[in-house]
């Protein structure tokens, strides 16, 4: 098989950190090569070097056997390397065609955009690789998975034959991820070569031809899906044995802590996002809310935590009506909240780790005396929590924005879990995190539940739901379509329910499949 890309001895130093240490990597034609590593292992740095955003301190890059120097993204595109970033670079109010043309406009008479020719090429590309899109649709109307397809089309339009996909499944639903894998296989079959950056083990085993694991800037090893297992990959990534399963005793649920009755909530566009939800979370149990993203989970959690006013219905916590309570009132009743979007809601990125750790309590003794902040207490509290929750930071005064995603999440977990709470609402608690952090946060959630806290966990990761929940509520189009006991739930059944199949039907289908 022909080698299309070879990295030799790539080294990149940043002040105080060796991000990439003599990394060698080869990519063959028509291969899907997974680059696996924890957050901060140096995957993204390596790819940014290949994409011309960073200059390596040492090392050489060969493309089709030719030594190349890639100083800018345009040089990388010219060399046939294209990258799909985690955050898409699309203009929402433009059509797909316009987005794809951008920067490489085909013109008519040197003055007018030739959308038809471009759209024709997009159709060609979309047919030959199975990337179904309508070239005239506006990007703002597209689902996330389709937007990602547009990003891939952009690369193919520029005739890239080495595609880098940076954590492409982080934003996708399980179904969308499966579609993406199909597309990736089509692309590989057509002779494109793909570098697939991820830290999700299952995906790697599903789709990759070869796997290279990076840890702390080094290549730890290379393997293939047939030789590897989730367990072996996890320990390569983390550098020690990883417990993928949390041991937990059966739940001993107590009194109801949170009671929701017939709740209706509008979303930002005034559509009914939560449509008559009733549920109950009791002491010492984890209620998992499963569902494909965008089925009202966000609005539900916002209503429960006081961030969004419900349209109708009733929310009670510890027999107190909190339907229209302010966020702080709910917090003070003993609710903890791990928000879905940690950088947007959960943290002030420009603040220090210490200030972020005090974000829910700064106004109360011992963190404040009257209106005066007690900086020493805030700092010593931070030192404590950093140690207790194993937050990896150079110190409590470091900006939280400078930490890795996993450590940012740990800051939130430390803050919410260190307060005495009766109710914990955890929304997508491990999204985008690496194995080590997921393991950690899962065990903490179970610990909370064992202490008698009522835990409501919203997640679109089926594995996580199945792993942790004592009961599972499936949400579809703003309604709870079914509530399952942990024992009766299977991945297949949940998948069917999440897709909106009628519960009776789903159980029958699920049973057939199992049988």
């Amino acid at each position: 098989m022909a080698t299309v890309l070879e990295l030799r001895g790539i080294t990149k130093r940043f002040p105080g950190v060796l991000a990439n240490d003599h990394i060698d990597l080869t990519l063959n034609k028509g291969e899907i090569h997974a680059l696996l590593g924890e957050n901060g292992a140096g995957k993204t740095t390596l790819m940014n070097i290949l994409y011309g955003l960073y200059k390596p301190d040492e090392g050489e890059i060969y493309i089709h056997g030719q030594k190349v120097s890639i100083d800018t993204p345009s040089a990388s595109i010219a060399a046939g390397v294209g990258m799909v970033h985690q955050h898409f670079m699309l203009i929402p109010v433009f059509t797909i065609t316009e987005n794809v043309m951008l920067g490489e406009e085909s013109m008519r008479g040197g003055l007018f955009l030739d959308r038809e020719t471009a759209a024709g090429r997009i159709r060609e590309i979309s047919e030959s690789y199975g990337l179904a899109v309508n070239p005239y649709a506006y990007v703002k109307d597209l689902a996330v998975g389709v937007q990602q397809r547009v990003e891939i089309i952009k690369l193919l339009y520029r005739e890239a034959d080495i595609l880098i996909l940076d954590e492409p499944t982080a934003v996708l639903t399980p179904q969308e991820a499966d579609d993406l894998f199909k597309i990736m296989r089509n692309l590989a079959a057509a002779g494109k070569s793909i570098i697939f950056i991820t830290h999700k083990l299952r995906e790697v085993l599903d789709v990759a031809d070869r796997i290279t694991v990076i840890r702390l800037g080094h290549v730890v090893g290379s393997t293939t899906p047939s030789e590897a297992s989730q367990r072996s990959l996890a320990s390569m990534m983390v550098g020690r044995e990883v417990i993928l399963h949390v041991d937990r005793a059966p739940a001993t649920p107590g009194k109801p802590v949170l009671t929701v009755e017939n709740l209706q909530v509008l979303d930002d566009r005034n559509n009914l996002a939560v449509d008559g939800v009733s549920l109950e979370v009791r002491e010492g149990e984890i209620l998992g809310v499963a569902g494909v993203q965008g089925n009202g989970q966000t609005e539900l959690v916002e209503a429960l935590t006081g961030l969004r006013a419900p349209l109708s219905g009733k929310i009670a916590m510890l027999e107190k009506d909190i339907t229209h309570a302010a966020p702080r009132a709910i917090t003070e009743l003993g609710a903890g909240h791990i928000p879905e979007d940690r950088q947007e809601d959960g943290l002030v990125l420009t603040y220090s780790v210490a200030d972020n750790l005090a974000l829910q309590t700064y106004y109360r003794p011992p963190f404040a005396k009257g209106p005066v902040l007690q900086e020493r207490t805030i700092l010593s509290n931070a030192v404590d929590l950093i140690e207790k929750f194993d937050v990896r930071t150079p110190g409590p005064a470091i900006r939280v924005g400078a930490l890795s995603g996993g450590n940012q999440q740990k800051v939130i977990v430390a803050r919410e879990f260190s307060r005495p709470t009766r109710l914990m609402i955890a929304s997508q608690p491990t999204r985008g995190l690496d194995v080590g952090s997921i393991e950690y946060i899962h065990s903490r959630l179970v610990e909370k539940r064992n202490e008698g806290t009522a835990v409501l966990m919203v997640s679109s990761e089926l594995d996580e739901i199945l792993e942790l929940s004592d009961r599972i509520a499936v949400i579809y189009r703003g309604r709870i379509v079914d509530v399952l006991q942990a024992g009766e739930a299977t991945k297949e059944l949940l998948g069917l329910l999440m897709a909106g199949i009628d519960p009776m039907e789903a159980r029958k289908l699920g049973a057939e499949k199992a049988g």
Binding site: F14, L18, G40, R328, L359, G395, I398
Partner: protein, 422 residues
Amino acid sequence: MAQRKSNTPQSPESKAKRKNPATILFEEVSGGSLAVPLLAILSGLLLGGLIIVLTTEEMYARIAGGDILGGLGTGIGAALKSYAALFTGSIGDPGRIFSALQNGDALSIRRAFNPFLESLVQSTPYIFAGLAVALGFRTGLFNIGAEGQLFIGALASVWVGFSLEGLPSIIHIPLALLAGAAGGALWGFIPGLLKAKAGAHEVINTIMMNYVAFRLSEYLLRGPLRRPETFNPVSPFIEDSAKLPRFFEAPIRFHLGFFIALGLAYVVYYFLFKTTWGFNLRTVGANPHAARYAGINIVWSTMLAMSLSGALAGLAGANEVLGVNYNLAVAFSSGYGFDAIALALLGKSHPLGVVLSALLFGFLRNGAIRMQVSAGIPIDIISVLQAFIIAFIAAPAIVRTIYRVRLQTEGETTFVSGWGGS
């Protein structure tokens, strides 16, 4: 924040401890690099000098006459002469200061130090107004209305200053200052309320409020507040009991307002960084979503910040009325409220930065008067100079490129994570 730069795992605390507190504070203000603002000022001065050279007509005449070197010399000479005048006008003539100190003659000492003290007088309203805008910035609010708030503050304090008679200074001065603060606060509160309750953008509304303030003050100064014995739109003089005390005999105008401004800068610093209220406001400014999540009342914070910002701007007006002019005329402010926006940016919205930038502006303004008189350079060149400095501050990449200042923060955001997940 002080340890922001230490992105290595080895004991960052001990590293921070070795720095002295003033350095840490300055780094907080300048965003880590002391060099950039200083180089920006230097670049501004150089470019300003170039413009003086290029606008020297005599130079072109001599060059046209064939004397290229002589012409260039004339141009450069003009620039040097202008900056010399700027220096003596703003800080003083070193020779005069020296000989006055040797003589020990009180009058000549006062005269020699007058330029310096006058610069401080000029800086004072900039400090107040700069603090006003900076406080807004910290809360994520763009208060363009400092100028209007300043006018309303001046109106309120001049009214208290002349209409109340027979009060002792110790009561009259605080009362007049409070009136100024209250007037400005009201003018800030209105757009704050509109923003918080109706989502109306504060930039639009503060600009509108400026026009209302200008026209309102014009109306009042032509009507109810006009000094009876004149037809000009000026207010009566304030009572002596309302005047901020001056420290030296005339013509030195240096007055208590400067120290009030410095004190207030400290108060604003303490409020913003050491109190829960300041924490509320800063959090709203840094990330309103997280602020809501943390239970901070954004509506209330917005109104509070706009009112406090208005109060500070109002004090700038009161300071001018009570400390310098003793009355109020229609065109009494030379755009302090607008310069304050640039100044707050220059000072990175940090009270210490604001004080330093205000001093810079004050010294430039004051020096420019001498420059105009003795070197014939129009005072507006100072606005050009300020514009250059601000442009350089706003685009630090230019300064870094020109002077090859290493960007020490490169890669920091990415690479603390380098050993984070392990």
